[in-house]
């Protein structure tokens, strides 16, 4: 079965520092999604990557998908307390139908 490994599981950074979250699969991914979840709330869509080598940015968050489409990274520049939350990577199964499977998440804490 396909699995997504996310690392680190938790991350505590000082405000203003940069950080990176990784998401790795043993199989080629057909679509890679990054979501952010605040505790007890729904998921907020951040970015979707589909092509090998693709990179997207939104404000201070950049996501990349490697050429083999097996690894993605989420990079936050100059972190702020508003960036705190749980970051989840999700990927499409081969069968499609938005049948996403997710990593276990990375809990990010930003210390002011």
């Amino acid at each position: 079965s396909q699995e997504l490994e996310q690392s680190p599981q938790s991350l505590i950074v000082q405000e203003g520092k940069n950080l990176t979250i990784n998401c790795t699969s043993s199989k080629t991914l057909y679509g890679l999604y990054w979501y952010k979840q605040k505790y007890g709330e729904g998921l907020i869509f951040l970015m979707m990557l589909q092509k090998g080598g693709e990179e997207k940015s939104h404000e201070k968050i950049t996501a990349k998908l490697d050429e083999k489409k097996q690894q993605s990274s989420l990079h936050i520049t100059a972190s702020q307390p508003s960036h705190a939350g749980i970051y989840l990577c999700g990927a499409d199964r081969e069968t499609g139908a938005n049948n996403l499977f997710f990593g276990t998440g990375t809990r990010l804490t930003v210390i002011p």
Binding site: G31, G42, F45, L88, D92, L100, F101, F102, T104
Partner: protein, 112 residues
Amino acid sequence: SQTIHQWPATLVQPVGSPLSLECTVEGTSNPNLYWYRQAAGRGLQLLFYSVGIGQISSEVPQNLSASRPQDRQFILSSKKLLLSDSGFYLCAWSWTQDTEAFFGQGTRLTVV
């Protein structure tokens, strides 16, 4: 614009009692609809998805069922809740099977 509503936000139910969680989408027609469950340490898991009225696909065997009585209404049900049904349930929608999903606020269910 499109919005998704999910309720209730929190629910405490005794073992053996029935369950009904409702999700509705506004501002779009014929969306793909999804129910996910987030269990501690296991990330998100897709439970059901629907591509149209009355069409339900189940991804995992379980004590729950789903129904789509109207185009933009998706209901998650159980006749008798188990302790293991506790968790955080998220409803989501997407335009098609290949586009990103947008999530509701979630329902935290505690079975006691």
